[in-house]
């Protein structure tokens, strides 16, 4: 019974409600519009300011917040902390809409006055009042706010229309301005409707360029533009490194798929190399340099597991190589013991700058030859797996510097 009485009162109150501003799309006061009002496409944050003196303030705010949060046009509901300067607070908190609520009355009845205001211009977008029996906590979390909630879409649609322009390379994917990433069209410009003020943490992946990101504060200023940086990704790189800190490694790599993949050629030379024996040679003993008559050209493919602008970029790769031997320079031959092999590797590179990175990786040689045991006998203890025509060497470490002009 109480519920029906409330519903009747609410209908009466709705009849009295006046929209002081009309939807620009419908163009007419009170005219039924086709619908931006009922299905708002914009989302705003709402700051709720409940007038002082309202009884059971916490219950009222909680119920109102719940009722508003259910609306698709609302991306967030905040409570005003400051009862006098809540417009400033709304702007600081990126709330485009302020909802003022005042309640008065006694002896079992309440008169509720409400107003939606544009946080930036402080224009009243919608207002109204209704009387209703003193609500219970259950009422407050439900139908008690139906009138206020019903007026929300219209108010949202009247929030000052603001936009900024995003300029960037066509095809750039920009996230942070909407639930789904935006794609910059062929024109290179994209207008983004945004509430003002608002702040966005954005990130853009630009084809052929380094990813970009940052924080954009939009104050609704006419002609605001966010230009995406366009620093081209390197198309190739050149490595200089050492295998186990001893043998030189040279690489040339081409980079693909926004620097996520690479393919290149590699040369490992075992002549010269550095060899520090476990037992230091006596004075005048053999040099620390070692010259093994072996070179190992190869190619490799790999993928980087982090974007190009990350400081640390792990990667995986695999390569194939051939071994050429020239003992005493009398013979130059494919090493008959292990002529071919594979070299899977995992590594990480640390960028000290866009053009210069330091890399380190763990790799292993998986040899193929006429007899895996001959590979094992080539350096006893250096392989951990031998079977048939293959032998796998204990993993080793490589590191070096990578130039990417």
């Amino acid at each position: 019974m109480r519920r029906y009485a409330f519903a009747l009162g609410l209908l009466a109150a709705l009849g009295c409600a006046t929209l002081v501003a009309q939807d620009p799309v419908s163009g007419g006061a009170g005219a039924p519009s086709a619908d931006p009002v009922s299905t708002p496409t914009r989302q705003v944050r709402v700051l709720v300011a409940l007038a002082r003196g309202t009884a059971d303030r916490e219950s009222w705010l909680r119920g109102l917040a719940l009722a508003l949060a259910r609306e698709p046009g609302v991306s967030g509901v905040l409570r005003a902390r400051d009862e006098s300067a809540y417009f400033d607070e709304a702007n600081r908190q990126d709330c485009a809409l302020v909802l003022e609520i005042a309640a008065a009355g006694a002896s079992g009845s309440r008169r509720v006055e409400w107003r939606y205001l544009d946080a930036l211009s402080r224009d009243v977008l919608a207002e109204g009042a209704y009387e209703a029996p003193e609500p219970t906590e259950r009422d407050l979390s439900g139908f008690f706010w139906d009138e206020v909630v019903a007026a929300l879409p219209a108010a949202v649609s009247r929030v000052r229309y603001t936009a900024f322009t995003l300029k960037g390379k066509p095809g750039s994917e920009v996230s942070g301005f909407s639930p789904k990433p935006l794609i910059v069209p062929e024109s290179g410009e994209l207008e983004i409707v945004a509430d003002a003020p608002s702040t966005y943490r954005w990130r853009a992946t630009v084809p052929g360029s380094y990813p970009a990101g940052g924080v954009f504060a939009f104050f609704g200023t006419e002609g605001s533009t966010l230009e995406l940086p366009d620093e081209a990704l390197p198309r190739w790189s050149f490595d200089v490194g050492l295998l186990m800190g001893q043998f030189p490694v040279l690489r040339y790599e081409r980079r693909f798929f926004s620097d996520r993949a690479f393919a290149g050629i590699e040369l490992v030379s075992y002549s010269p190399g550095i060899l520090l024996p476990r037992d230091p040679p006596p004075e005048g003993g053999p040099s620390i340099f070692v010259f093994l008559p072996l070179v190992q050209p190869g190619f490799r493919l790999g993928a980087r597991l982090a974007p190009a602008d990350a400081a640390f970029r792990p990667y995986v790769s695999t390569g194939a190589f051939a071994r050429f031997s020239f003992p005493g320079f009398r013979l130059f031959m494919l090493d008959p013991i292990a002529p071919f092999g594979l070299s899977p590797a995992i590594g990480v590179e640390y960028g000290t700058s866009r053009k210069l990175v330091v890399w380190a990786e763990a790799a292993m040689h998986w040899y193929f030859g006429p007899n895996g045991y001959l590979v094992a006998a080539s350096n006893p203890g250096n392989v951990f797996f031998v079977k048939g025509y293959t032998a796998i060497e204990i993993p080793h470490v490589r590191f070096g510097v990578r130039f990417a002009p």
């Binding site: 093994l292 013979l331 013991i337 203890g381 470490v397 590191f399």
Partner: protein
């Protein structure tokens, strides 16, 4: 940019230091072993089946220092041999294999100390149980009876006499087909006196007692041409029966081949500079000596007159000896290859393979001659 470069250099230096601290890594590559596979072809085509043997050996303890080699017995009918490990100034007979069973547990005969410092180990021809050893300080030849476990010092060497001031210039073995049994290995030592006089002594080996004859042909304790070189340790010596010529490759920084003939009326003459010290002598089709100078990867061949005859990609194949095959009346060159597969530093021991091949020397020389143009 400069700061970035500094950061990169610093990072690279840190990595370099960390890595250099363990810079004793080597790839799975042994040039000698790789080269030796070229010899597999000629062994496959011309090798004698009766010599072809392979052994799987469990080496006891930490017996691999990269210089161990396999010394096969000198008779094809007797499979087996010795694993010889030159230790820190010692020769150690680590393992003796008998038969062709897949596994033979290695035996370490002490730590080589019973023999003292050794420089040369030669197999005892006709015996599967004895090797002879030259050891330093200059105590002369000894025979080591493996299964008896005892050392029988040779009294015949002049070097065992403290009053003899001669020093050993070279020592080696040579095969004498004129002695029965055919291909009997004999040995020769070249001695130098402080006054510059030189003596050559040839000895035979008694296979019945498994010891080297203590009185090695005293009649041949003859002076030979003097050597204007100072021995720094025993080198290689061989004796050519047909021309009564001693061939010597002294242990000198620059390897060379010398000729000396008794009686010593002149100075020994250097025949030719070698690419590596001579390590063996074989015979060509007309029984003239051919010298093998084995380097790390290749063995160069020289005639007795110093002519370069070609080279062999021997690599890990080590010339063991030359055998006179009385059946075919032909010389057989016997090689062995020894490979250690593991690198255990404890009592687990290491796994090793040994292979033996014998090929007619004529085929070997023909193969080497093919390399003359290369």
């Amino acid at each position: 940019m400069r700061a970035n470069a500094r950061r990169a250099a610093l990072s690279a230096c840190i990595l370099a230091l960390v890595s250099l601290s363990a810079s004793c890594w080597m790839p799975s590559f042994d040039p000698a072993l790789s080269v030796s596979t070229w010899m597999d072809a000629i062994f496959g085509d011309h090798g004698r089946a009766e010599w072809r043997k392979s052994y799987t050996i469990a080496l006891a303890g930490d017996s691999d220092d990269g210089f161990s080699y396999f010394l096969p017995f000198r008779m094809p009918a007797t499979p087996g041999g010795y694993v010889v490990t030159p230790g820190d100034g010692y020769m150690r007979i680590a393992t003796i294999l008998m038969g062709e069973s897949a596994w033979e547990t290695g035996k370490v005969w002490g730590d080589g100390n019973p023999l003292g410092k050794a420089a040369v180990v030669g197999p005892m021809p006709g015996s599967s149980e004895t090797v002879f050893v030259y050891r330093d300080p200059l105590k002369g030849l000894e025979s080591l009876v493996i299964y008896g476990g005892s050392v029988n010092p040779l009294l015949g060497s002049a070097l065992t006499d403290p009053s003899d001031s001669r020093r050993l210039l070279a020592l080696g073995t040579w095969s004498d087909p004129s002695i029965d049994p055919g291909g009997q290995t004999r040995f020769v030592e070249i001695l130098m006196g402080e006054s510059g006089d030189a003596y050559a002594r040839r000895g035979s080996i008694s296979t019945s007692s498994f010891t080297i004859d203590s009185d090695i042909e005293p009649a041949l304790n003859d002076p030979i041409d003097q050597f204007p070189v100072t021995p720094t340790g025993p080198g290689f010596a061989a004796y050519d029966l047909a021309t009564s010529t001693y061939f010597v490759s002294p242990n000198l920084p620059d390897p060379s081949l010398w000729r000396a003939q008794a009686p010593g009326a002149a100075t020994a003459s250097k025949i030719v500079d070698l690419k590596a010290p001579a390590t063996g002598m074989v015979h060509d089709a007309v029984d003239k000596p051919v010298f093998l100078a084995a380097g790390r990867s290749y063995t160069d061949l020289y005639s007795g007159s110093g002519a370069y005859l070609g080279w062999l990609p021997t690599g890990s194949w080590r010339f063991a000896f030359e055998y006179w095959d009385t059946t075919d009346s032909t010389w057989i060159s016997v090689f062995s290859r020894f490979m250690v597969l593991t690198d255990n530093k404890d009592d687990i021991g290491n796994l090793a393979f040994a292979q033996v091949e014998g090929v007619p020397t004529a085929d070997l020389l023909a193969f080497a001659a093919e390399k003359l143009g290369n």
